[in-house]
Symmetry: C2
Subunit: 189 residues, 2 copies
DNA sequence: GTCTATAAAGCGATAGAC
DNA sequence: GTCTATCGCTTTATAGAC
């Protein structure tokens, strides 16, 4: 049996858990140590620049997942309506129906965001732009597509906030389902 | 001329700035000291239980403002449609058109929320319930009102997240304006 | 590659002078 | 009511043994 952790990328899921749970500042190295099961020595071996590099690695990993599974299909799939429906399903699955927060969203709100400004902006810009493209490809007016995607992307983030605030993960699925319907109705017109 | 700060409530705006900027954990006492211009001695004089009491005082203040200016009118105003339109205007003004974050939203996302669970939940529950009541009073079906208010309240929070993420405060006004229209159209049916 | 030990700085909170 | 000094603890980061 091989070792559980022998590459940088093996630690990323545990790092993601730590940052999602506590945000950037409150995710101390002792928290990260517990979550990953690795001592400081090992952590600094994989991430010589420390905590910021750890967070950045997680963000890159999340961004790559969305690019592959959500953004690219929205931009390229021939069946644009199907890609949009798929986006909602994949998104609901990714966030474990509202039990997981969005790390980009968490990092966007407070001062720590200055460190990750570029990555955060890029992630949301890609999401909105990809959704806009899918809507346009399916016959939606360009200006209206821009507006709808802005509302839908912020609606998804807001649903994650409301889930945590109300301690009710079901909110996420409900809000997503209704946004899906709203976009589909728009495409029928 | 009287002193600028001689009561607990005089420090609250500065405390709110500190917590909005950094969240709870990263708003250290030295940050708070700078923002308020008060030494630790004075701060502990006004808030003997320390940082948590400071944050709680800010939340109470914000909650009271919304109760008076937004929630109560939604529940009680005779002109329910007008109260809803007013909610959006007051909300946009309160959050300085997206330049200010929602402290309840910030505290909802990470582990620190455990400390303020009750207050956070109560704030959002009141908002959603008050908006639902206004929609129903104006002729909206009860189930649909429940759904619309969930979507609108989360839409507002999400718009604040997206503003920060994209570093574009204008997003807030746009999203709010469209939600206002969506609710108004619903009432016309 | 992983650990322990340790450094230097910052943390929340308290005490006591004024 | 406000300050400074200080406590004990935790923080990030490094060094060096293994």
């Amino acid at each position: 049996m091989t070792k559980l952790i022998n590459e940088r990328c093996d630690v990323i899921p545990a790092l993601a858990r730590a940052f999602r749970k506590h945000g950037f500042d409150a995710a101390s190295l002792s928290v990260i140590t517990k979550e990953t099961g690795l001592g400081k020595g090992s952590l600094y071996h994989f991430f010589p620049e420390g905590k910021e590099e750890m967070a950045r690695a997680v963000l890159t990993e999340v961004d790559t997942w969305f690019e592959l599974n959500v953004f690219a299909p929205l931009r390229e799939e021939e069946d644009a309506g199907g890609a949009i429906a798929d986006m909602f399903d994949k998104t609901e699955a990714y966030f474990y129906s509202g039990q997981r927060v969005c790390l980009f969203g968490v990092l966007a709100l407070v001062e720590a965001r200055e460190r990750f400004k570029g990555a955060v902006r890029c992630y949301f810009a890609k999401w909105q732009s990809a959704l806009t493209q899918a809507l346009v490809r399916d016959g939606c007016d360009a200006d209206e597509a821009e507006e709808l995607s802005e509302d839908a992307v912020s609606g998804i983030q807001g649903a994650l906030v409301l889930c945590r605030a109300m301690d009710d993960p079901q909110i996420f699925g409900r809000v997503l389902r209704r946004w899906k319907e709203r976009l589909m109705i728009e495409l029928d017109n």
